[in-house]
């Protein structure tokens, strides 16, 4: 049975969304949980996953269109299916075609928690109310009332499963039921790793694993979960963008002095905080560097949401510091530490990882001097930061002095911004870092 896909409400304040890009075209097969389109709200840019599996029959609202929430933007179903009844009223077909009675649906076999999409879910008013409040998708709940009626207790039990938001999101995406998972986090909380492990044990995952050949002197690591996501995103980034790279060496001597002074005052600030702070400041002056590209437009963002790459045991995560340009240095540092901690503990919410407009990645602590970072799509640039090293430097007056030096490496999307303005942006970051007095 054909179903409609609507503009989803992402956050309390959202009233409309701008469709940036369709990731499937009419006729394509789409799968529930897989990315379907990218959109932008007044707050963030986000990839929306399909909530149905089937064929994308009709795209009603194209790229660049601003659509009010809950309005139908596409229709999915079986190929060749009559969708005239689902087209918005006003179209000729809809007014002529009387609504036909839906064909009886076969009973879904196996998992009763996942009714065929479009099938009516029976739940008590209270269960519905609490499902909405606690953001439980009724379609994922097995009803324990008479005739499979979803009752309040089912929602409470579902919602009371303690899991990190990341684990929850991954489970939802992968269609893994959280109730069967033993949590390994603190107080038995289900963490991302638990979900990924469960995912790997599923029959389809087993089939995938079966094809992996492993010689005696090899270790094959199955490409699952987070690793798979990272792999896909990195490849997409490099194949879709025209990435180019600039480097400059910044003199950190003044920054080192500033940090020492603050430290003496008992104020904790890291070099990375100073880099984040200067980058945010420079982005407000170079909005092109703070933009996202769609098929027919470059969208410059007026707000700076700075992503910061964090290495975790599971892999790379990029939490986002919202409105980084509006924060004081210490405030920014505090937020960066908090997000870093949450990333390592698996406590990030999906909201914490979406909507970034530019990313900073720092490998200085691993002794890297300089490197070429890959852009975190759909952003237009990323700044790679190396370690601080004392070097003999020839100064402007031809004297040689010992200075604390640090490499900055900017990868930018040449489709969005040319080499010269990118260089100007990088020079501005360097300038701010070298003269922390400018920050005041």
């Amino acid at each position: 049975m054909a179903t409609t896909i609507i503009m989803p409400k992402q956050g309390l304040q959202m009233t409309e969304g701008l469709i940036l890009r369709w990731l499937a075209k009419e006729g394509d097969t789409i799968r529930e949980g897989q990315p379907l389109f990218e959109m932008e709200t007044d707050k963030l840019t986000i990839t929306i996953d399909a909530n149905v599996t089937g064929t994308l029959l009709k795209i009603l609202r194209g790229e660049g269109e601003l659509v009010p929430i809950t309005e139908v933007i596409a229709i999915a179903g079986e190929p060749g299916e009559d969708i005239s009844g689902l087209l918005p009223s006003g179209s000729a077909a809809a007014s002529e075609q009387p609504e036909s009675a839906p064909a009886p649906q076969p009973e879904p076999e196996g998992n009763p928690a996942k009714p065929v999409s479009g099938e009516r879910v029976f739940a008590t008013p209270r269960a519905r109310m609490h499902a909405q409040e606690r953001q439980v998708d009724l379609r994922t709940v097995a009803g324990s009332g008479p005739d499979g009626l979803i009752i309040d207790r089912d929602i409470q039990e579902k919602a009371n499963i303690r899991a990190t938001p990341l684990a929850r999101k991954e489970a939802e995406k992968a269609g893994v039921a959280l109730d069967g998972i033993a949590g390994t986090g603190s107080h038995g909380k289900i963490v991302l790793a638990d979900v990924l492990e469960k995912e790997e044990r599923r029959p389809d995952a087993a089939a995938r694993d079966a094809e992996i050949s492993e010689e005696a002197d090899e270790t094959a690591i199955p490409l699952t979960g987070m690793r798979r996501i990272i792999a896909r995103r990195m490849k997409e980034s490099l194949t879709e963008m025209a990435q180019a790279n600039h480097r400059m060496e910044a003199d950190m001597t003044e920054a080192v002095r500033l940090r020492d002074q603050l430290k003496a005052q008992g104020i904790k600030v890291s070099y990375n905080d100073i880099v984040l702070y200067c980058t945010a400041r420079a982005l407000t002056e170079y909005p092109r560097m703070n933009s996202v590209m769609t098929d027919n437009a470059i969208i410059e963002k007026r707000r700076v949401h700075l992503g910061m790459a964090v290495a975790t045991e599971d892999g790379l995560l990029v939490p986002v510091i919202r409105d980084a340009d509006r924060m004081k240095l210490q405030e920014l540092g505090g937020r960066a530490r908090e997000l870093g901690r949450l990333a390592r503990e698996g406590g990030l919410r999906p909201d914490d990882m979406t909507g970034g407009t530019f990313t900073v990645t720092n490998l200085g602590m691993f002794g890297v001097d300089t490197f070429t970072p890959i852009i975190n799509a759909p952003e237009a640039g990323i700044l790679g930061v190396g370690q601080i090293r004392k070097k003999a430097v020839v100064l402007d007056d031809d004297s040689i002095a010992v200075r604390s030096m640090m490499w900055l490496s900017l990868t930018y999307d040449h489709r969005v911004i040319d080499g010269a303005p990118a260089a100007q942006f990088l020079r501005r970051v360097k300038q701010l870092i070298e003269q922390p007095a400018l920050l005041l």
């Binding site: 008590t124 009332g145 309040d152 207790r153």
Partner: protein
Amino acid sequence: MSVKTYAKAVRDTIAAEMRRDDRVFLMGEDVEEIGSIFGCTADLTKEFGRERAFNTPISEAGFVGAGLGAACTGMRPIVELLYMDFSFVAMDQLLNQVAKTRYVFGGKAKIPLVIRGQQGIGRGNAATHSQSVETIFMHFPGLKVACPSTGRDAAGLLRTAIRDDNPVMIFEHKALYPTKCDVPDDPEFMLPFGKADIKRPGTDVTIVANLLYVKRSLEAAEELAKMGISAEVIDPMTLVPLDRETIVESVKKTGRLVVVHEAHRTAGWGAEVASMVTEEAFRYLDAPPLRLGTKACPLPFNVDLENAATPQVSDIVEAARKVCYR
């Protein structure tokens, strides 16, 4: 506080009010010598004389009308109906006259009239002497309807009724008359109309009941507690005015409602409560509200059959489990 029976609480309250205000008087069948057959008016004639506590002929239409006339002319009569079933004999007086006089004469007359008496099962009094008739008087506007389930409530509601300038009907229960509880001695002890009493707090299911069924619901709540179901038992105290807020708030908390009364289930007052809750707390409901009441048959003389016709404690337990899906 004194421990006394429900019947004694009624009797003492009438006596205290008659002492306080000489406009208060009592009339009814057999109130003099035997103090009505349940002792609710014992020795009142001895204390106040036949001027203020006297027998009437067996003519409900006549003496209810006389009570209305006395109330209109400044007295504060208490009219006792020996069985509330007999109100049917006086239906025109009650529904067309008592309930409407103040309204049709533009508020010129006050009607400080109390009509009280007992009703219900428990004595094998058969089809015309065992009914629960309060719903009828809730349906027609103009009468306040009180249903005390304990001696304390009987005393507090009766005093409020006597001091009310509008007609009040009080439905007592014959099977509750011998039950004992603490009753305040305070001659000013009154319970407000329109304020329900939460007889037992709970979190899983709201049970609304009156009269004998408050007692039975509390027994059911004990049973339910052993099964891990926490029942909140609410006595509306007065059906008119009805404390909608307490009931609705309780159901918002528990999500489940069972209404149980001895009045017939068909179009009984429980239907009004269930419907009101559905209208006002629909989103909070986790199960359809259930009604328990006497089956659609005249009450049998045989006690076993009487039990079969009326809700038992086990029926209340079962209904509560059903709405809790347990």
